[in-house]
Symmetry: C2
Subunit: 286 residues, 2 copies
DNA sequence: GTTCCGCATGAATCGATAG
DNA sequence: ACTATCGATTCATGCGGAA
């Protein structure tokens, strides 16, 4: 287990071949999208995307524990006026190779990229595809319910008028849209729709997804002894989420510069106490 | 055109064979979901769903105008712990047969059914698949613009406070200008995520979707001369939406009882004035 | 210490232009 | 005909300096 809590530079397909079978509890990743991030990752053409991804998915399947889960954040591009089919083709091919397609969560991005076209509106959602090896997998549903404690009440009381307005506009995930709704409630189960804004103007580390996203899935699918893998770690968001939650992490990226950024970022992240986590989570979800 | 503003009993595949080519502007429908509503539709097995649907889709393609749009409201069931693949297989097969898969809208069902399962959360979204015959189709984006987001609401509120003070001290200067700056920005284009609650406990007609859903798409893809078709009309929601908006409609259903219900319902629907429509729409979205 | 306001910043897409 | 690049379009968010 010498790969634990490391950020490893390399092609994840090759790097993972050195990993033992059944060693990872959760794989959470957002691979480079087709024709996207050409400068850093070279860009994969839509027509070649499935063939590019499948051998990697084969390694993911091998290293994942039978009770583990694979969450794939992805969205197809518009090509020649149509949504391309590589994502849904990928689902079918992965099933042929042994994956179970358990669920499709929906990430509603409240701050979608602006723009106007004659034939479509702004794209404001992405897929979070859940794959498993077995029908029985670890799931800790209570971990993503929203508890109502004194800290929430206190925070609510201290909210400024502006904050209240903003809390309405910002996002909760399925579990509680704004703080005021929690008052008088004990716990609420979420749905499979997650409302969360992208962190587009975060100058410290601009990431493809907000840290609240991996936090949510790590809490849902792992316990404190678990290992979380992100084979396209990028700026380290998934690893930071895992470390905050006291989980072990492994990050892989083909780009050494990103690995450096992720390692640097992780030195500034410490596991948080439960109360801090709760508050952190609220901020992240807002 | 003797089919206009009629509710026709029969299998839509057979009924549509009597329709001329290129005669429909918008097809909006929510077909019977696989293996559900067994009593009324006889139940279609998930594994047979694609073969069941494709010959109907062939007729839809034929009767649709080249500038028309087909909106398919559908969601795959969970079968044996997995999301079934019949919906994504259907997309691929329809493309092979000439349809363009232009877009996938997301219907976020704000009040999803309660329930709890060990391996999944409540399903609170459905697909609204957009298919077209051609890359160029009719789209009236201005008809569905929405109020600008809450971020502006908060600032607008504060701004107007300031402007009120200014108005008292300085007569007429600056006031109009500041407001007019925001008046131009009070409406924005929507995204491809539609937030709408399901209609619960409507005793007159239990429908698969709220009337606000077809209203939105009818406004987006048709003008007042258009014909809207729903080949699985059920209790008549799509036809009611079309009639309200002053469009022509055609509804088809294999179940005579549903046809009766739809016809009865339509006698109670009248085209509304613009102001009434606006108000109605606001209620539907809330 | 708060709150307010200006401003940069995005996993985008289309159509036109150029090689 | 097929690919690469570029400009125009657009809006929610968070940061940082100002009030």
């Amino acid at each position: 287990m010498d790969f634990v809590n490391k950020i490893i530079q390399g092609d994840c397909e090759q790097v993972l071949k050195g990993f033992p079978d059944n060693s990872i509890d959760l794989i959470f990743t957002s691979p480079p999208y087709a024709d996207q991030r050409k400068t850093t990752y070279g860009g994969v053409r839509p027509a070649e995307y499935v063939d590019w991804f499948l051998p990697k998915a084969e390694q993911f399947l091998r290293v994942l524990k039978p009770t583990g889960t694979f969450i794939l954040n992805i969205k197809e591009r518009a090509v020649n006026g149509e949504r391309h089919t590589y994502v849904i083709e990928l689902i079918l091919k992965m099933r042929e190779r042994g994956w179970l397609w358990t669920e499709e969560f929906m990430w509603h991005k409240k701050n979608a990229y602006p723009g106007k076209w004659p034939n479509r509106f702004r794209d404001s959602w992405e897929r979070l595809l859940q794959f498993n090896k077995r029908r029985k997998f670890n799931m800790y549903q209570e971990a993503v319910m929203v508890p109502v404690g004194d800290w929430a009440q206190g925070r609510l009381r201290n909210l400024s008028e502006t904050d209240k307005i903003r809390d309405e506009s910002k996002v909760g995930s399925g579990f509680g849209k704004n703080i005021s709704k929690w008052v008088g409630r004990d716990k609420v189960y979420p749905t499979n729709v997650i409302h969360m804004a992208t962190e587009c103007s975060n100058r410290q580390h601009s990431a493809a997804f907000p840290v609240g996203l991996p936090i949510w899935f790590i809490k849902l699918f792992t316990d404190s002894n678990s290992i979380v893998l992100d084979p396209f770690i990028g700026s380290g968001t998934t690893a930071a989420a895992a470390k905050q939650l006291g989980r072990k992490y492994v990050g892989i990226d083909i780009n050494e510069e990103y690995c450096q950024i992720a390692r640097q970022r992780l030195t500034q992240v410490q596991p948080r106490l439960l109360e801090e986590l709760e508050e952190y989570e609220v901020r992240a979800m807002q």
